[in-house]
Amino acid sequence: MKDKLFVGLSAAAMLVILAMLAVILGNIFWFGKDMLSWEFISAKPTMGMTEGGIFPAIFGTVALVFLMTIAVMPAGVLTAIYLEEYARADSKMVKIVQQAVANLAGVPSIVFGLFGLGFFVNFVGRGVDGFFFGGELYYGQPAIIWAAATLALLTLPVVIVTTSEALRAVPREIKEGGLALGATRLQNLRRIIVPSALPGILTGVILAVSRGAGEVAPIMFTGAAYFLPYLPTKPNDQFMELGYHVYVMATQSPDVEATKPILYSTVFVLLALTFLLNLLAIYLRARLRKRFAEGR
């Protein structure tokens, strides 16, 4: 009797979650579907964002996430490799780093935004300008490279934690097998451990991309623009981004009512894009797993 009650409760909890998800997605699709068209995806916003499309924001989001991945992967994966494979598990340093990573994961994203502005834009950017450009303003301003760096910092804990888990999941026998054949630690890492952990490491990328693509707060001070007539082509260009575009339309538009259909469609596109990026990573992971199973 008690058992049945518990099963009922847990099932109900699950249903509530599913229902909430369905309502959110349904609502977005229902109100957004009228605006969806090829033109909407491929054109620039016009008429104070009450008409036209959102292509610059889509482009900016993809470029941002791409740059972020390039920045976060080496840093995160190398950190995890150090923690798992080189440092002694009982050392104080490892514990401090692990605690720091956990704390980093708990910092609110707006704090990352302010940190990005203070550190990357003002400190690093100005420093670069002063050093290479004689103080002229090139990098000391919000730009896609600084936004990507800030997002990379935000997603770093996700990558470190998932990579660590993936490395830990490689059986000890296999790690020892490589060493017993005379492999150096580096050879063992490159040829045995990392390839075996690669599907797990890609899971980290998937999670980081999902997290990064949806964040607005870290990029609003570090590079995202209200409206731009051009696409970002250089690392120090500003850019439009879907999440920020939604925020702008909902709060800063001259005519909030008129932007509503576009708003819904934009959210829909953002969700679809995140989903697509995820699918891509999941596809890559599945291919890798298959390759290992077949042994090529």
Binding site: R88, G177, L179, L181, G182
Partner: protein, 281 residues
Amino acid sequence: MELVNEEIETVTKLPQFRLDAIGRPEVAAAEKEKIRVEKFSFWYGKTKALDSITSRVYEHRITAYIGPSGCGKSTFLRCLNRMNDLIPHTRWEGKIFLEEEEISRPKPDFTVLRRKVGMVFQKSNPFPKSIFENVAFGLRIAGESNMEKLSASVEESLKQAALWEEVKNKLERSALALSGGQQQRLCIARALAVHPEVLLLDEPCSQLDPISTAKIEELLLDLKSRYTIVLVTHNMQQAARVSDYTGFFLLGQLVEFDDTRKLFTNPSDKRTEDYITGRFG
């Protein structure tokens, strides 16, 4: 009363003076020492795992070490190719020599040492790669990239490990698709591919069925002419079947080491006798 006490003392001292394979001049004259272990003790943290082991491994012979679980025989084996260095907080005293080279010195070249002293583990551990790449791994990390040489070596090693006939048409397939016994023979082939002088086997058959076990035992007897083999097992019948010399470990001590036939038919130590007759362990 006094006399009785004296007798007991003599009895407990006996093992130290008995004439085992190391101490017997005719054995020492007939065999060539490959590995020499001198008063070797080993600690994990504060736990003493090996207590003053003195033993010999003779060239082109199979030396088996038997004993109950936790007696230190695997620790001993892993000292011979320094696999224990992966574990933090270990230390040791005494010396181990591979011919003239001291294995137990502070910083040996692990790559060179482990190529000379190959190892096969209790749990078969093929890499998630093809059969070919598993066997070629040792050569590849040594810098060999000539496909002809690799292919020749893979074939030779698989033949030595009596696996060639079973896998020659599927070398590109995943090693993980092989059966447990085949995987273990693949691991032997992989170890042989780098032409080791000594092959260490850590309970290689403990997870295999009797038929696979028989195949591996047969294989070891074949390999004896080319390699020096050290086998750790808790299967006493296995030690009796394949080995030339046997050492019996108990609680971190090498209680007895002798010619296999002698140790199993006429052990010098009461504890060995109890163990091989199944009175404990």
